[in-house]
């Protein structure tokens, strides 16, 4: 079998070591005058899922783009398994077995599902030509697991439904043996059944020891899936909490006001309720 072997696959399974899987330290990202991420530090352990919440423009996606290499951090450090990592572009991130499902899906609309699955990591024959047969066969295999109804393997992705496109984006992230998975609104385009499928997939991936960052607007999903919830407000981390320690109202309060439960005044609470 000519399945792509990423460097990460040959490494032994991560034992519970002292150093976290991912550690982002004092990360700052600015666009012109806008400080999108301010001095954020965050840790992710293997098998852990951190839910990133916050309203639009809180810096969740920007922070994750730094980890994916889509937009490198201005200052700050990223450590993978305790080792400093240089992530300057998406290629670097993939070398560290970081895979990303972007909110926009990042699919080439004019190319078919196998072409998108293997974009940038094509399977080739001995003389370096594209091996479309193997790529289609591998895509059929993984799609059968993710979405058994998927049958449009030869059509340009633009002709597919939102759910099918989402399935391709998810398949692409998990096929290459990710150790660290960044999911930006992975169920935004999906119906209830498909969302449930993705949730069970996420649990399965966690059980395999993959560390996951989940960016989501859906507070219930986040409570359901997260080991810890990280609330961001105007580029800063308000708090990182365990779902068992807070109520969803308290998390909502932190999202909207940017303050921990103890810091919120009665007046502000009354305003919220109104």
């Amino acid at each position: 079998m000519t399945v792509a072997q990423t460097p990460a696959q040959s490494q032994p399974a991560p034992e519970q070591s002292a150093s976290p899987l991912v550690e982002m330290r004092n990360v700052n990202i600015a666009f012109g005058g806008i400080h999108a991420v301010r001095d954020v530090s965050i840790e992710l352990r293997s098998g852990e899922l951190i839910g990133l919440v916050g309203h639009n423009g809180a810096g969740k996606t920007t922070l994750m783009r730094a980890l994916s290499g889509a937009h490198p951090a201005d200052t700050g450090e990223i450590l993978i398994n305790g080792q400093p990592a240089m992530i300057r572009n998406p290629r670097d991130a993939k070398k560290y077995a970081i895979e990303t499902i972007y909110q926009t899906l990042a699919l080439a609309e004019n190319i078919d599902a196998p072409g998108n699955m293997f974009l940038g990591r094509e399977l080739t024959s001995r003389i370096g030509s594209l091996d479309d047969g193997s790529m289609e066969a591998e895509t059929r295999k993984i799609m059968h697991r993710l979405n058994p109804n998927f049958s449009s393997f030869r059509q340009a992705v633009r002709n597919l439904s939102g759910g099918q496109r989402q399935a391709i984006a998810i398949a692409r992230a998990i096929y290459f043996n990710a150790k660290i998975l960044v999911m930006d609104e992975p169920t935004a385009a999906l119906g209830p059944t498909e969302t449930a499928q993705v949730h069970s997939l996420i649990r399965q991936l966690k059980a395999e020891g993959i560390g996951i960052f989940l960016v989501s607007h859906d507070i219930h999903d986040v409570f359901d899936l997260s080991d810890r919830i990280c609330i961001m407000y105007h580029g800063r981390v308000v708090a990182t909490v365990k779902p068992s320690e807070v109520t969803s109202d308290e998390v909502l309060g932190m999202i909207i006001l940017g303050k921990r439960p103890g810091e919120v005044t009665q007046e502000e609470l009354a305003e919220l309720r109104a």
Binding site: S68, P90, A106, A108, E109, N110, I111, S129, G133
Partner: protein
Amino acid sequence: MTNAAEAAPTTGQGHGSTRRSIRGLFGQTEIDLRLFGMLVALAIILITFHIISGGKLIQPANMLTMAVQACGIAILATGMVLIIVSRNIDLSVGSLVGLISMSYAILMTDWFPHILGIGVDVPFQWLLALGLGIGIGVAVGALQGFIIAYIGVPSFIVTLGGLLSIRGVIWYQSQGAAVTGLDPTFQLIGGGALGSVGELFTWAIAIVGCLAIIGLLYNSRRQRIRYGFPTRPRWAEVLLAAIGSIALLGIAWFANNNFWPKGLAAQYAANHDITPPPGGLLIPTGFPYPVIMLIGVTIVMSWLATRRRFGRYVYAYGGNPDAAELAGINTRWTLMKTFMLMGVLSAFAAAIAAARLNGSTLDIGTSYELYVIAAAVVGGTSFAGGIGTIPGAVIGAFVMQSLSYGLCYIGVNSPGQNVVAGVVLILAVGFDTWNRRRGGGKT
């Protein structure tokens, strides 16, 4: 092939069904409808002019001349497809063709004999000239491509600058003079009676082509069966192989019905002590060399576009630049390579132009860029990016050339030809846009 039918689930589907519409049968052959439509359009154009001209247009001599005239534009159009697909444009091709063409002329008339001491008798100097021409093309393409891809200046601006400045460089190259007198072997690249491969090679090429068609069809069927993918019904495979082979052999037969001019044949007979038969000696020309060059370029470019990572990345970038970048593709290098490739193709087109003229003038290649863009666009390339095929662009070049050749043949002057070419360009793209929209964005 016996277990092929068993493994192919779709094979028997059409038989019991009452909905065996022509469209359905057509779909089973998986022929590219757009490409097929363009071939039909080409045939209609030629037949129309054939009738208007009183049944004189479609004969081997005319068709081969037309093909040779289309070759330069068609070769360049294969590269322009990739540039337009990746959301750029190259306006400098005409000037680059002129620069390389003048370089060939100066190399062979001045540098080779006077500086390098290579006389007329030295063989393979045509190859040396061609190699240097390709080098110039790649260098210019790399420079423009670098400015576009790495510095981020829009390709329209960079290549517009190229169009102007390179044309100026040509003047300095030759001090404003036309340069003539190329190596006799190099002149064969331009076609004509001597610049053709002859009867035997023409048949050989056609037969190799037939075998290649059958081999490709068989190989693709075997691949699909190996992975358990649906296959075409067997009648469709046989039909495709038959149509392809008959078309190839027919074209070869047609080309072999073009003969050397009487004077040239008589001279040949005299030189070789042959007594000419009563009607004069008939020597078939077969395919001209530029046509062979075009066939080679089309095959290699199609292979690059569809079978190699480079081509996949070009199309991915055209479809969604962000997706290509996020997938970890080195998009800048990919874009730069498309312009370098255009440089290589410019060297081929320049060789044909210079060889046909037996030299070079200051204005060779002028407004080529516009005909090349027109050919690519008529051939189905979209400025929105991500859409376009190499064979489509080649047929597009032939459609445009057949129009101007046909008009010229029935006595319409050059301004009239331009009017028609412009109107047809707009109509073709308008029809294509309407057709795509009606099809709900399906390709």
